[in-house]
Symmetry: C2
């Protein structure tokens, strides 16, 4: 069974039974394939009497979003699993446990998180996540610090970097985030009502220069082992718990990229609630909450990152007075720029977010896209010169004030 | 014979005879081991009647400079050979040809360059190299551009980067250049007469902050396949010809590092000729020549690099107006900072340069060290804010003016 082929439901169940200390031998197991279907099969196998389950994730050798014509290396299953293991070693409460894997079949068997909800869905439904900023700030700070030259042996880091050379998945990021939205690319995907705004991106050289610089950072700055795709669809959450999944885009890149991804997706949900100036108190409160979360993500990251630095720094030269402040400022600036790039691409690029695409009503949806684009562009242009996370919330508030909808 | 062991002279000759189309079967071959003996054996095998030869370079599994106690990976022989092959493919006239190799024995068989002289020796003897700046500018521009995200497929670049993970040799650079000189390290090696100046480095936080930033660039900025050790002892030259050898430190790092290495070594030779304000016209002319060369290295690099960019750029976003200028400025700034770091380490760090250590007379040698340190410190502090290569020559001229020797 070790030669690669997509698992059948029956094979998934058979594999689940081989996992030690999980299901009773005579357990009646049910199985469903629950993948969103872009890049992977995801089987959930459940002992219906016990309510106990596990997940089998299997990489497909192509991206389904464009048919079988976009081949992807199966080695990404190994990359994802090794990234999960490293992340789990640093923040075990924030990452699913791994039970088994098979590199040949591109399979990872892991903890079932059915009691959690994909956070994007929760946010769309107005769910509150009072601990999220603290959790994700710690996740990002710990996983980045301890995989960087600051927190691990610098020779071991080089060897580890070699295990996360991830060209196929990086190319998706490089094309869809740092290129296509800024030219007339067939990969772009935007509604006709925002065509003038999309086309304006292709000719905004101030913006394109900043994107070129962010792209360069993504291509060359091997600072830490990134999650690489840390949007709210890669996070399982309850009110009390946060679990980060799906690090198949993991590779050594600039720290700000992961932070920017989280902030961008909170601000996309912010943009998806047009009507800031309306009289809806609930809407107002929800938007305030999202801004506080976005700020909180940075603040908890920074606090935790500085704590780790002061406690576990391995680099003698990095103790030089002033260096930590400069480093943190660099990460902040990168995060703001990357956040903007990630917002823009979700409006005009290939892959959108449900936060905006599920808004009922063309006018509201149109306004949400304009607001997201406005925030995204402002963040990209501000990033390199920013000095405080408050600049992000200021930009979002300003864009909201300028909205022209009534609800 | 394929299990690793250091070759005997007889084995070297036997190996040389197996190289196709080189020596006649009945040729009488002589052999000598000519390595400087730090990290490698170097055999020259010559057909004395024909004057035709070849070089066998074999990596040793340790650094001899500190006995057998500093182990080094033999994989660096593969890294060196693959780097030579890549460099040769871009600038065949500036790199020796490779005839054969054996990864198991850590051996590369290559062109004999006995008609050339190690450039450091030539410079010490006052030799002129009127084409050097043009040659090395082209070497650096071509080898860096075509191995970077600017000039090669960006996914292939990631795979190539994976073949040049070079922890052992990078550690030498990280320790000896970016750490030891800035603290009381047992690896340091300076004469007692400059102890106050060496110790001042340990407490100069402005300088140490810039070194920490340069160190970070070296650790994380995977811009291009560097030579990694491009000093004048890694260059064979005649008046007309330049050949770059010994890229065993090759790895993906910041472009400015290679440029800075060349400039640093020209300025070390400059510092080794104290008496700028004297009446010696020859000395004056020699120093002027070195400054012109240092400037020329950058100018030829920049011209050639911009030409390649305008002709062979693969990155769409890098065409954005203004980006090329920003990129070149970044490389200039890095080069100036790295040049300074490389000068400082040759005065107070483990490994010195003959340019200075062979100066006859304690007073002149002392002055040369002070001048080199002064230039090095100024370059490191200036780098991040520089806008022109002329700032380098300005700093060198100023340091020379302040010399207190008479000759």
């Amino acid at each position: 069974m070790s030669e690669y082929h997509p698992l059948s439901l029956e094979e998934a169940v058979a594999l689940a039974r081989t996992i030690p200390d999980h299901f009773r031998q005579d357990a009646e197991l049910s199985v469903e394939e629950i993948g969103d279907g872009n890049l992977n099969l995801v089987f959930r196998i459940t002992d219906s009497t016990k309510g106990k389950g596990l997940i089998i994730k299997q990489a497909l050798p192509y991206a389904k979003v464009v048919g079988e014509s976009w081949p992807l290396s199966l080695d990404r299953a190994r990359i994802e699993r090794e990234a999960l293991e490293i992340q789990h070693s640093h923040v075990p409460d924030l990452v699913p446990a791994i039970y088994a894997y098979d590199n040949e079949l591109a399979i990872t068997v892991m903890e079932d998180l059915s009691d959690h909800t994909i956070m994007r869905k929760g946010l769309i439904e107005g769910q509150e996540y009072p601990h999220f900023a603290k959790h994700i700030g710690r996740f990002i700070a710990s996983t980045l610090f301890y995989t960087s030259d600051l927190g691990m042996d610098q020779q071991a880091k080089k060897e580890q970097l070699g295990r996360f050379i991830n060209p196929d998945l990086c190319k998706i990021t490089e094309d869809l985030i740092f290129e296509d939205p800024y030219r007339d690319s067939p990969n772009n995907n935007f509604s006709e009502d925002i065509r003038p705004d999309a086309e304006a991106l292709w000719h905004d050289d101030e913006l394109r220069l900043e994107i070129a610089l962010l792209r360069e950072k993504f291509l060359t700055h091997a600072e830490a082992l990134l999650h690489g795709d840390l949007h709210t669809g890669s996070i399982f959450a309850t009110r009390e718990s946060t679990k980060v999944i799906d690090p198949e885009f993991a590779y050594y890149g600039p720290m700000g990229f992961d932070i920017g991804a989280v902030i961008a997706n909170l601000l996309l949900n912010f943009a998806a609630q047009p009507g800031w100036s309306s009289n809806s108190e609930e809407l107002h409160a929800r938007r305030l909450r999202l801004l506080t979360m976005a700020q909180g993500v940075w603040k908890h990251f920074e606090t935790h990152f500085r704590d780790l630095w002061n406690r576990d720094l391995v680099d003698v030269m990095a103790k030089t007075p002033g260096y930590q402040d400069m480093y943190v400022q660099k990460v902040l600036r990168d995060a703001i720029g990357f956040a903007g790039a990630k917002m823009i691409r979700r409006i005009v690029g290939l892959s959108h977010v449900a936060d905006i695409d599920t808004i009922p009503g063309a006018e509201l949806q149109h306004q949400a896209k304009l607001t997201a684009l406005k925030i995204g562009k402002a963040l990209v242009k501000r990033g390199r010169f920013a000095s405080s996370i408050d600049e992000i919330t200021g930009i979002a508030r300003q864009a909201a004030k300028e909205e022209e909808v009534s609800i």
